[in-house]
Every structure is written in C-alpha cells, then in structure tokens.
Symmetry: D2
Subunit: 364 residues, 4 copies
Amino acid sequence: MILVLRRGLEDSQVAQVYEHLTNLGLAGQSVRSGQHTLIVLQDDAGQLPTHFFSQVESVERVLRLQSRCPLAINRGSVSIKFPGGAVIGGGTPIAIAGPCSVEGQVQTMHLAKQVQAAGASLLRGGAYKPRTSPYDFQGLGLEALHYLREAKEATGMPVVSEVMSPEQVERAEPFVDMYQIGSRNMYSYELLKEVGRSRIPVLLKRAMSATIDEFLQAAEYIMSEGNLQVVFCERGIRTFETHTRNTLDLSAVAALKSMTNLPVIVDPSHATGRREMIRPMSRAAIACGADGLIVEVHDDPCKAVSDGAQAITPAALRDVIADMHAISNVVKACDNGFALDDRPAMVSLALPRDCRPTGVTERS
Amino acid sequence: MILVLRRGLEDSQVAQVYEHLTNLGLAGQSVRSGQHTLIVLQDDAGQLPTHFFSQVESVERVLRLQSRCPLAINRGSVSIKFPGGAVIGGGTPIAIAGPCSVEGQVQTMHLAKQVQAAGASLLRGGAYKPRTSPYDFQGLGLEALHYLREAKEATGMPVVSEVMSPEQVERAEPFVDMYQIGSRNMYSYELLKEVGRSRIPVLLKRAMSATIDEFLQAAEYIMSEGNLQVVFCERGIRTFETHTRNTLDLSAVAALKSMTNLPVIVDPSHATGRREMIRPMSRAAIACGADGLIVEVHDDPCKAVSDGAQAITPAALRDVIADMHAISNVVKACDNGFALDDRPAMVSLALPRDCRPTGVTERS
Amino acid sequence: MILVLRRGLEDSQVAQVYEHLTNLGLAGQSVRSGQHTLIVLQDDAGQLPTHFFSQVESVERVLRLQSRCPLAINRGSVSIKFPGGAVIGGGTPIAIAGPCSVEGQVQTMHLAKQVQAAGASLLRGGAYKPRTSPYDFQGLGLEALHYLREAKEATGMPVVSEVMSPEQVERAEPFVDMYQIGSRNMYSYELLKEVGRSRIPVLLKRAMSATIDEFLQAAEYIMSEGNLQVVFCERGIRTFETHTRNTLDLSAVAALKSMTNLPVIVDPSHATGRREMIRPMSRAAIACGADGLIVEVHDDPCKAVSDGAQAITPAALRDVIADMHAISNVVKACDNGFALDDRPAMVSLALPRDCRPTGVTERS
Amino acid sequence: MILVLRRGLEDSQVAQVYEHLTNLGLAGQSVRSGQHTLIVLQDDAGQLPTHFFSQVESVERVLRLQSRCPLAINRGSVSIKFPGGAVIGGGTPIAIAGPCSVEGQVQTMHLAKQVQAAGASLLRGGAYKPRTSPYDFQGLGLEALHYLREAKEATGMPVVSEVMSPEQVERAEPFVDMYQIGSRNMYSYELLKEVGRSRIPVLLKRAMSATIDEFLQAAEYIMSEGNLQVVFCERGIRTFETHTRNTLDLSAVAALKSMTNLPVIVDPSHATGRREMIRPMSRAAIACGADGLIVEVHDDPCKAVSDGAQAITPAALRDVIADMHAISNVVKACDNGFALDDRPAMVSLALPRDCRPTGVTERS
C-alpha cells in the first residue's frame, strides 16, 4: 500500500499520519517524488480496506499493490473432470448444449440425444429460470431436474443447470453434475458461498456489469469455501450497443486465461441474443483461447418457451462444434510455431473421436 | 404486437405467417407502409414472448406495444407508513441514515441517537453485508439485528436492513421494519419473491446494470407476490466514468416519478463513493423530485469497517437534511407557480417540526 | 511516478531498470512494500508518457502522481463576461436559450425576443449542425449567422453558436460571442486548438464517451493556445440506459466545480432528449452547483427541423428560469449555514432584476 | 413509420393527428391492436425526422421501419484495390502495420521494410496525432508524410495515415493511399464530407461511443459525397471495464459483415492497449470474419513516442500475420462445409505467396 500525501504539509501533519499507522500496527517509509511525499507501507497491509488510509486527513490517494484473489489467481484446478470422461480445461475444447428451459420429458430426452450426436459433451437445461418479468415462464423446477437426470442416464452426458438461491443448491444437488450461477446472481454472495460448500463443479457466469476483478472475486467466494472447481463463463457485458443483446467481451477470455489457471468458456447465445451470430462468435471465442462453449439449442426455436431468438438447431450446433475443433487445432499449431517455417503446414480438421456422431441419422 | 415482414415476400410466405398466428389462436391485419408489409395483431398478445413471432420465417422485426408491469406502473402504494409516524412518499422528503455496517452495540445505539437528532426518520444499518471480496468484513448478522432492535426501542425509529438470501428474509423479519434489497441482488428473483410474500415494506435498490424497465420489473416481482409496499432507490449505475464509484442517474428519478406512484429515494453515498459529493448530490436528488435520501453515517469514517470513504459524520448529516427540506420547500413553491408572479416570493426554509433536534448538544 | 517491479527479480534485473532511468536522465529510489519492490522517481517525470516505463522489462505497473492539466485546473477564468453585461460563473446562474437550428430570419428574431423575455441571458442557435445522418437538415450556415447577428442587435443578447471545423471558426468569428464545441467534436483537437487561438469564449461540451479527465484535457487544449475563457457543459454521457437520450451525469458538475475554477453549465435538452424532463433536471443541475443552463426552445416543437422532441416552448422556459433562480437562492442560503440555526429562515424567490419579463404578454 | 396513439382518445383527437399528416402531405391507415390505435403511414416517410410525429399531441410513440443508410448498406464497394496489388476485402485477409507515430526518416524506412517482410500489405504511420493531452507529442506532420512516401517508394507498400481536419485532408492527399479517420473524429462530419469528396479510400474507425448504426451513418456521410471506398475498422468501444484500454466488440464485425458489403478490419492495438493481447484478439477477429488487421509495430516499444504499451515488434507481427492466414484458411474450410463430412479434412496453413518473407534475414 502506498499513501500519497497532499502537497505542502507541515511536519506535524505528516506525523499525524504516522501516528495513525502506528495505531494500526503498521510501519511505513517516507519517499519524495517531485512535489509529493509518499508513505510506502512496509508490509503491504493488503487485507485492510483502503478507506482505513484514504480517509485520514492529509492523505490524498491510496495505491494498493496486491491482488486480493489468492485462490482464483493461483490455486485453481487446471481442468475439471466429470464422470464419464468429459473434461473442461483439458486442452480440447468442449461444448455444453441444450435447451434454454427444460420444457418437458420428451423434449429433454430428444434434445439430449441430438446435442450429443452433434458433438456436445455436457447437457445444459434450465429448471429454475431467472426471467426479467414475473409473468414469464419460470421453469419447471424439480420436475425439470428429473427429466435432466433421465436424459443423463440415457446418454451418459453430465448435466449443468442453474441454481438461483441457496435452497435450490440443496434441492438440485442429486440431479446435477455442475451448478450454473447465472449472470444475474454473480453478486449473490450467499449463493456463491453455498455452492462453495458443495463439491460439485461450478459454472460461474459473469454479471452484466462485472469487471474482470469482480468476476475473479466471485470465484474467490466459491473457492474460499473449499470448492476449487470453478469454470468462468464470459457471456457479454452491458454496454450502450443495442444491436446485440449484450457485448461479448472476448478480451476478458484472453485476460482471464493469462491471470488464472481456471478454465474459461464462452456463451455466444446470451452474449449476442441473435442466432445468426452464434457461429462466428463461437469461432472467435475458440480462436482467442476459450476452453469451450455453452450454446442454447432448440428443435423449433420459434416455439421455445424462453430465449428462442438465440437458440440454434441441433444441426447448426453440429457445425458450430466442428468449427470449434477445427479452429482449436489450428490455434495449437499456431502456438507451436508452425508459421516460422516456410513450408506449407497442414492441420487436421477432424472432429475428435469422442465428438463424432454415433449413429443419429438426421443432418441439416 | 406488430410484425414487420421482410420485403419482397411471395403471397405464400405471408400465408405461412398467418398460419403460425392461427396456430397460436391469434388474428392479425395486414397493412402496407412504403415497401414493408406489417401484420398488426388484433389483440396485443402482450404476455407472449416476442420470439414466438420474431423467429418465424419471413418476419424481420417485432414491435411490442404494451407495458409488462401492471402493478408497478399502476397500483403501487402512494406512500409507505411506518409505526411511529414516519412516512415515505407522503409529500415531505425523509432521510434514512445510519452506519454502512453495524459494528457493535454501543456504536449502533450512539449513531441511532445522533442521526435522529440530525433529522433522520429511519435507521439503516448493515447486518448482512454483500462485500466484493470474501475476505472483507461480512457483517455481524443476527447479532447486528439485535443491536438495531435495541436502537429502535430507544429512539422509536423504524429499522431498514439488507437481506441477501431467502433464508435471511425469514431471520430478519422480527427485527426490521423495511427490507433492503441491495443492488447486487436486484436480479435475485427468488429473493424478490420471498420479500414479496412478506408484508414488510421493501427498499429496492437499482442494480448497477439495470435499465429503468428492469428496475420496474424487479418491483413487479415483489408486487406480484402481494407486497405492494415498494420504494425505489436510485444508487448509481455502472458507466465508463471512474471518478465516482458509480454514475448517479437522476434522470431515472424523474422518469420513475412520471411512470409509477411508488416512492423513489436516492442513495448519494453509493452513487458517488465520495463523502464530499454527498451534499451536492443530495440537493440535486431532492430538486428533481426524490422522496428522500438514504445516507451512510459514521462518527469516525476512517475507522469504519466498510465503505468509510463515503460516510459522513452526524454533523454533516444535519446539513444534508436541512438542505433537503429547504430545497423541497422551494420545489413545492415552484410547482405551485409562484414564479409566474412578478412579486418577490418568500419561502420558509425551516426544518419540519418532527425533524428538529431534540436536545442533543453536539453540532459541527 | 512510481514503478512497481515484478516479484522475485534478480539484482541484475533491477539494475537494468535503473540503467533505463539513467538513460532518460532520471533518478529513483528503491523501497520495499510487502513482496514488492518499488522505484519512486525523484522528480515526478510527469510529462513523460507512462509507456516509457511500463514497457521496460521487469516493470509490472506504473503509477502516475501528477495532474496533467495545469491550466484547466489552476488558472481558469473565474467568470466569463460578455459585452452587454451577461456573466457566466459570476455567482448568479444564467440561461442560454434558443432554437436547436436557426430555421429562418423571422423565427430567429421572434424566438430571441421570447427567450429574452423569459429571462435568458444569451441566445443560442445552430448555424452548422452536426447531424447523425447526412440526409438530415445540415443547418443554414452563413445565412443563419446573419440572422443571429440581427437578433443580437435587436435584443443585446450575446450569441452562442457551434463550429465544427477550423474553417468555420474563422467564418463564424464576426458573428458569435461564444463558440460552442459540440459533444461530437470534443476530441477534435485541431478544432480545439483553433478556438484556443481566438479570444472569444468557448462553450465546451463533454463528449458522449469522455471521462472527466478527458474533458479537462480538452479544455487544456484550448487554454494551452492562450484562450482561458472556457465554460464546461455537461450534456449527458452514453450508457446502457435508453429511456433517456443520454445519461445526465450531475456528479460531474460537482466534480468539476471542485477541481477547476472554470464555470460549468448543464444542457438538460440533449442529456434527456425528452421535453418533460427538462424542468426537473434543470432544477437538479442548479441544486448541485451548476452555473447555468443551456436549453433548446421552439415555438412549435413538432415543426422544428431538428431535435423537436427535446425543445420546450418560451413559456415553459420562463418556468425553468424562475426555478433556476429560486433554487440558486436557496442553495446559497444553505451554503451560508442558515440551517444550523433553529429559527425558520426565509429566502426570496424573486427573479433577478435583469431576468424579469419586460413587457411580453404571453404566459403559459 | 407507425404512430402509436395514446389510449382512450376521442375521435376528434384522432382527427387532429390526421390533419397534421395531411398538412405534411402524408396519408395513413388506422389499425387497432389490443387497446391501442395505430396509424400506419402509407409511404414510409423515412427521411422525415421522427419528432415531426412524436411531438404531435395524442401520439405516444413513433416506430421507424426504414434504414437510413442506403449507400453504406447496399452499394459499398466489395473490395478496395490499391496500386501495387494490395486488396482489402478480396477474400484474403490483409495486415496494415507500422508505427503509431512516424518518429523519423530512418525509423520509418526500417520499420516499413520489416513489416513488409513480416507479411504486411499496407504501411500505417501517424503524421498528425490526436493525443489526449496537448503536452504529448503531436506528430511530425508534413515531415512525417515525406518519410512515409519515401518508405512507400522503397517497398511499394501503399500508405495509410490519419487526417484530423479538412485542411489536413488536402495536405495529405499527395502522400497517402488511404485516409484514416480516427475514433476521435468519427463524428466530425465536416471531415467526413471532405474525405468523401476525395477519391482516395478511407479507413473509418469506430468512435468509442458509436453504435453500429452511427458507424454506418458515418460511412454514409463519406459515401453520400461520392467516395464509395470505405473500410470499417472496429477498435474497441468504451465500457466500464478498465482492464483493457477499450472493449473490443467483435460482434460488431459479424454484424457489419451481415449488413454491408464494405470490408471490415480490426485494430487489436487500440482495442486492448496491451501488447500481450494482440495475438489472441487478432486470431479472434479473423475467426469471426474480419477482412484484416491494423497493428502498431515498433522496434523498441518502450522508446516509442506514443502508445508504446500496445506496440508489438516486427517479429511478433510475423506470428500475428501467419496466424491470420492460418485461421482464415480454416474459416473458409469451415464455411465450405468440410465438417459435414466425417473424413478428417486437412487445411493448408501456408502464408499466401505475396506475404512470404522475401530475403529479410532477421527472425525472432
């Protein structure tokens, strides 16, 4: 911590600042820089709030040096492994796909099989739905969780589903393989602590207004309770641009990948709110290093009970996933420096074996 | 609802759109405007999601006509009355004041008396604290609620305190006269429903990223469960400007006052994050029609356990409250058209009787 | 300037940083803080770009101490005086009013007389119009400037008009008493330099995306060329909120008033884009310390060639100006501490003499 | 244009609206939708401002149907061809590279050769520099343009350089092959018109606060003066996130590519302000369809006179360009549907012939 003092202080005023530090059990060293006097604290006092210093008479500004996310930044799991073999953050990008809302038993089973055939590794589906209007469909709740479990039993795909309150965490526990914390709840610290106390991996979506630092701090809330299996999900932030539902901040993906070992995936559905932008934005997400995608899928988007404008069909998902692997392969080749060689390199665009279609016949 | 069709459609394509409408049990009328064909739905279908129409082949855009907040916009309580006589929205502005965090029994009692002496009508104090970092002080919880109740018993001031999860709603119920939903939880719909099921008034703070429409919808969540006693609180939105903690959006106050009957108050502490801006922003808030203020107060801000940079002293609060009444009186005179008369009008700047100091001696 | 070095450096790496400083002719002192080593530069090197340091190997972060707006922050004119007696920043708030676009000779003369009768001190009118679409009305140009001069001759009111290119600065010079730099041109540094070389006062509007620091720097551009007569105009910034045309940032008014001696006025017309919000936002602007208002006025807003939705009638302007003076009077009384006295204070709400109606009969 | 009338109008009030339309020479048709009456204008009246209607008594809202950018949306050049063979928008992505500021004759010549060797097709270099502070380096002006011309003569690379005022357009004309309009001047309509009157291609950068619609309108300003050779450049918008200098909005690339035929390139240097993010963001830009990149390059970034923190070395540029071609090749393969085939596809990652190193020996 560095305290920048106001200019032109009397010695007695500087002494008062030191007295305040002594009262807090801290020591500091004075340094001059141009017209300013600084006091640099000997130990960084990083866990004390800055207003302990900024509100002291004669202090103009306080500069903090130390990060406050020790777990999120240093000790995150490198990869998250699910029963059945799916891995997030293992070097091969994955796709999580499924309906925005679970609408019924038949739909869930049918879509689960279709997204698996298209190459998805995990099944998503909304049981509890955070809707802007109380008059919109609020989700089938427990009933939906049962349908998701049935779909999991049939396909082997792990299930991701959103929880919106501590109570739902407990209720969903027997049904899900990964909790989703939605954007609207990224700041709901009681909820974060609750999933932090569980041992089920957590997909943490960035709030519409969250800085990268706040996003890291939200992960820290979960991890500080003991659950280190957190996956970040960039899903667009709120800006002045209204052409898209949100503004996908892919720089955040690169930033997070450089700051933490935790996996980072991208949700092009919520980021854009427009079906036709899901494919290009998915490509871009993988190109800048995302560990995977979460995509909303529906057989007949104009009949979806929620968010139909941003759902793609299973056939379109197949293209998105094929692109994902192709681009990931090229990015790895680029990272390995193929380009410094003048010979024309070749790269395989094949789907990984476990993402291949396994007998479903329909193709778009 | 109006469907704007793509240009240059065949008759058969238009017929398909009508078929879709018929399947939904809806009727529409075609109209031409320039090169566009529109279909105007006969009944407004206002409760159906727009993607039921926007995702239909041949539909370019969907325009919705009807508001979706029937309760927040039309049926809100005009004023909220508390036991002991305090009223929010009754024509005379009120101040809610107290510490950011309840820090102890003595502090709470002492500050309660001081803010009352300064003219505050309700006591605020954080028992459960939503902090950005899990390593920051998280609030004294139930213990804090007990201190607040003691302060209430001593002063008669109703108590406002934040709840962050459905479980806390139940726990806080015997202790508070008004629930506060903080910015970070404005989108926590399970929590909104829970306070909606209670009969205690709710102070609803705007989320950092919430549009005015989403703010209204959050109130609608509470009201649709039966609790009509909602007070809006504008507390700054997140923008690119970093000089202030948030950007206080006073236009939202004027907008909300014109759209709803519910009271609207302003939190200059969180909006600016800077003690020195609380007085001018409080004046501005009242000048554009706010029904009151919520202000953080601390005896010794540089020792506050949270948010010290934005706390003012009880003596400064007294000035803020005096300004509040003076400006409110002038605004009423302006509304009553004094200015159309050329004679020099005079307006009383006296504090209302119930906000007068009652024997506390310290003044700044 | 403070350089924060990466952790765990070898001595030789620190030596390399010092070598870099020596090459730049700078000296620094090493200080430890927790796990960090800092180098504090002896003289602040405030005019060197931070990347001279931040891009040096081993440097993690650079902290700048010194403001870079010496003129805007310290040496601005306290008040701007116009021939005929109008003063901006003289303690009494003023109103600048007139049509968005000058539409014709008769309109201009008529409106000038009406806004003067309503209490406005300066006449605004657009000759060169920055319109979002090239197909919108682009202003009458030189012709408009002639009409404005005629109106000035008839009323004695100084004229404010926007210039959009260095060439227009020269062309408008004989016609205007104050140049307006619009939001869209706040970053047009060639234009700022050009008006900086003139001796005519400048009304500088904040760009939609400008931070307060950039706003100050834009004033510094003008002042560094010799023209110290700059008035800031807050007119709303661009945020996610779409209910209003922009988001009026009144905190910026308080911030600027505390950082600079230059006058600060507010444009509620562009900030809100909504006629009905001009009165409450004008009140709020004056309450938090603005030195005046600039308001768009039109006799028949739905026939205005530009921005009709945000224009008010001359009769409504009269109310806005009366409010302005009444609130300003109360704010002064508040500043003078009336409130610390328990006796009921009274404040005059009279219009200042020179803002009184002088015989125009119509009133709303 | 559709006029939504207020609810509960008398017939005479509706008649007044029709009278207003008749006065404007327009005809409309009434339609009911739920509780609303709409008037749909027969011809779209798309060039009239909406306030001609929105400010009419009894009109609640006006909905516009028609785009106002006929040239930018429909008639843009598909590709921009430069003397010497470089093409922007021709299907193969290109790189524009060079120093932020032209700093001297030797530097310019040296960097030009290096960026060409790295695979760049056009040379960028700042002669006139829009700097936030008037005390920062403002560019070498005409001298810089001479150095750029020399570099062009030596390498054959077309030159791109920014102009900031109409006068500079004329001055730069003999020296540049492409005008750059910087972000800060995207709303400087006089400048846009001036480059619109030239026949030199224009690189139009998005303003920090520009919506996609305003970005299109700025292109329309240029095109409406006759110059159809416009290239869009997404370079980040201003949001609340401060980790990066701006927020790169890659969705805008996909949006623009779907709305217009004009080429779209991306500037990862200004978007991120961080050297280490240029490579991942360049990959993402190409993956979502950008036609190329503009990148700032410097031999020794910590000595650059401007924007050193975001400059990469020529060696790093070589990697960025190699990635660009590799990813572009894969995207084309993806577009061509390789993925629908189960056989493992292979794609060449070779640099195009004209981007190969041609004898320069240094490699990083």
